[in-house]
């Protein structure tokens, strides 16, 4: 009996997930994907495509901050959720070779990074944050910058915070 379209799709999907998981787990082990669980920046550079960022980080102003300080949330659960998600997908893409060139930070991770700036630098930006500008309780829903033309935020102008990396895009890794 021929398979229905739905059945065929399900099988394909199951195979894909299985394969993806397999590859992901494989790479996670072989390619030291577990380095995602450490805080050592050198561990990120285990993947050669991270090595430019690593080199640029060493030239930059933020040796005091590790990759994870900027690229994972600053709370225990969030940190490992993001690490697991990024670790899995990055391993998967790395193994399949399907990733953009040049690398581009994803919207979700950009938000994580914007929050990280504030985690360390909140006092210095108190004056320019919307607590003052809007006197409202706003989540640190962060500005669109660089990657999108939408200006610093959406909605009425009191609604959101400044994007830090709009001006400070070189802080993490100095490249020109």
């Amino acid at each position: 009996m021929p398979l229905t379209r739905l059945q065929r799709a399900s099988i394909a999907a199951a195979l894909a997930v299985g394969l993806a998981a397999g590859l992901g787990v494989f790479t996670f082990g072989y390619a030291k994907g577990a380095s995602y669980l450490t805080n050592d920046p050198a561990a990120c550079a285990n993947c050669h495509i991270m090595s430019e960022h690593f080199a640029a980080w060493q030239k930059g102003s933020h040796q005091a901050a590790t990759c994870n300080d900027c690229h994972t949330p600053h709370n225990f659960v969030g940190k490992y959720v993001v690490k697991a998600r990024n670790g899995f997908w990055h391993s998967f893409y790395f193994t399949t070779g399907r990733y953009p060139d040049p690398l581009r930070i994803t919207e979700r991770n950009r938000r994580v990074t914007e929050e990280a700036c504030r985690y360390c630098h909140q006092p210095i930006v108190d004056a320019i944050e919307p607590e003052l500008a809007g006197n409202r309780d706003q989540p640190a829903d962060v500005a669109q910058a660089g990657m999108s033309l939408a200006l610093a935020n959406t909605g009425a102008h009191g609604d959101a915070t400044m994007s830090c990396i709009r001006c400070h895009k070189y802080v993490g890794h100095f490249v020109r």
């Binding site: 360390c120 006092p123 500008a133 006197n135 959101a160």
Partner: protein, 455 residues
């Protein structure tokens, strides 16, 4: 210091010493809550010159009619051609380099342009703290107050104001959020957004925070005219923000600023179209705001604040430019000056072209005031004069949009010299028309085989 120790909860960094309201126009009172911003605001009295910007402090002997003891350099003395350029208009009497916000009220009150013609209260819109005045005179209705002031003679309106642009004109006193307080801008920007497919734009409701960091300046640093007998301040933007669109607007509207004394042409004066020119540049496209460059963040103690000493960014290149451009200060200054020198070079040949045309028309009219050729030549002067003035009056000498400024000047040169041709009956001369009308502005898509592949 350990970064963990420095980490604190977000807090309001300012002490609210006094309560501020919509009627607090005196910046000194706001300064009690925000002393750093206030101190910087006061420093707009400083005068330092850059190659094309800033201003020079020239001492003068105060008189009863004009009590100022220091003025900025005269642009008419720097370039005497400008006297002929504006011949017959107040600007040919007195036109100075603009300087810091602290001077805006007195420079307007005491310019000799005031002697030349009776000015309306409208002038004050951009030269004083108006918000409370508009609200008071409008009985709580901002627009009605605005209309009331427009209709007064200048001297009467002047009695209703005290300060240069002040905190209350840019900030909501409760939240300190930016706000737009000028009805002319509310109307103008609504028209612009409509041309971009955004209907019913209410700037105080719909603008993003980053847009506001430009729009507060766009309330004044723009081209304008006084519309109708009510002298309503109007921004001519309903066809768009480019020099060409604004000229096309005036052509339909029929507005003239004055009749040129040398040529008899009905001409227009362009004035400080910073917002319009900036909007054509790559910085605007990249979401960079006026405040990013002209009010860069400045570290003060443990926090950073917006530098309220609004001035030429060439006097603060490190903070205005270098966070985004990692090049040495001298290199960045050289980039700006290269752009400005190119603009200045074209501006000079364009100015010469318009002046030659102007004198040719004057001579032709003197020998035969009924010549049918005069009309076209005067139209050419009207168009080209406005286009040159658009770049001349724009205060960045082309930096805000380098290629666009050059494009506008290219059209000005073409139209002025075409006017000379048509005045002299050159055979086959192209007709005088608005810039770009009839010209091909983009390469047509291919019709050939490869077109389908176009990516």
């Amino acid at each position: 210091a350990n970064i963990m120790e420095r980490r604190q909860e977000a807090r309001n960094p300012f002490y609210r010493v006094v309560t501020l309201t919509d009627t607090t126009t005196d910046p000194a009172i706001w300064g009690k809550n925000f002393p750093q911003q206030y101190d910087a605001y006061l420093r707009t009295v400083d005068q330092v010159r850059t190659r094309y910007g800033g201003s020079e402090a020239l001492p003068r002997t105060p008189t009863n009619a004009d009590p100022r003891s220091i003025v900025a350099q005269s642009r008419l003395e720097e370039d005497p051609r400008l006297r002929d350029f504006w011949s017959g208009y107040a600007f040919s009497q007195d036109f100075r380099e603009e300087r810091g916000h602290a001077y805006m009220l007195s420079d307007q009150e005491f310019t000799q342009r005031q002697q030349f013609a009776q000015q309306p209260g409208t002038c004050l819109n951009c030269h004083a703290s108006m918000y409370a005045t508009y609200m008071r005179l409008g009985g709580g209705d901002l627009t009605r107050g605005f209309e009331a002031v427009n209709k007064m003679p200048y001297q009467e309106a002047r009695q209703h104001v005290t300060h240069s642009v002040s905190c209350v004109d840019c900030h909501n006193p409760e939240t300190m959020a930016l706000r737009i307080t000028r009805p002319a801008f509310m109307e103008g920007i609504r028209a612009v957004k409509a041309t971009q497919g955004v209907p019913n734009f209410d700037v105080n409701r719909d603008a993003t925070r980053q847009e506001m960091r430009t729009f507060v300046c766009g309330q004044c640093h723009v081209e304008y005219y006084f519309k109708g007998p009510e002298k309503r301040l109007t921004y001519p933007w309903s066809k768009g923000l480019t020099a060409d669109s604004i000229l096309a607007y005036y052509d339909v509207d029929g507005h003239n600023d004055w009749k040129h004394a040398i040529s008899g042409a009905q001409v227009l004066k362009a004035q400080h179209p910073e917002f319009e020119m900036y909007s054509q540049g790559v910085h605007a496209r990249s979401g960079v705001a006026c405040a990013d460059c002209h009010m860069p963040y400045q570290r003060v103690g443990a926090m950073k604040i917006s530098e309220h000493h609004v001035r030429s960014p060439l006097l603060s290149i490190d903070r205005s430019c270098q966070t985004c451009h990692k090049f040495p200060e001298d290199e960045l200054r050289a980039r700006v000056e290269t752009i400005q020198d190119r603009t200045f070079e074209l501006r000079n040949i364009a100015l010469d072209a318009v002046l030659e045309l102007t004198r040719n028309i004057g001579a032709a009219a003197a020998s035969d005031s009924t010549s049918p050729r005069l009309a076209d030549a005067r139209k050419a002067q009207r168009y080209s004069q406005f286009l040159v003035d658009f770049v001349e009056a724009e205060n960045s000498m082309g930096f805000h949009a380098p290629q666009e400024a050059a494009r506008v000047l290219g059209h000005a040169i073409d139209i002025a010299r075409k006017g000379q041709n048509s005045l002299h009956g050159v055979v086959g001369a192209a007709p005088v028309a608005l810039p770009g009308v009839g010209a091909t502005r983009s390469r047509p898509a291919s019709s050939g085989a490869g077109a389908a592949e176009r990516k």
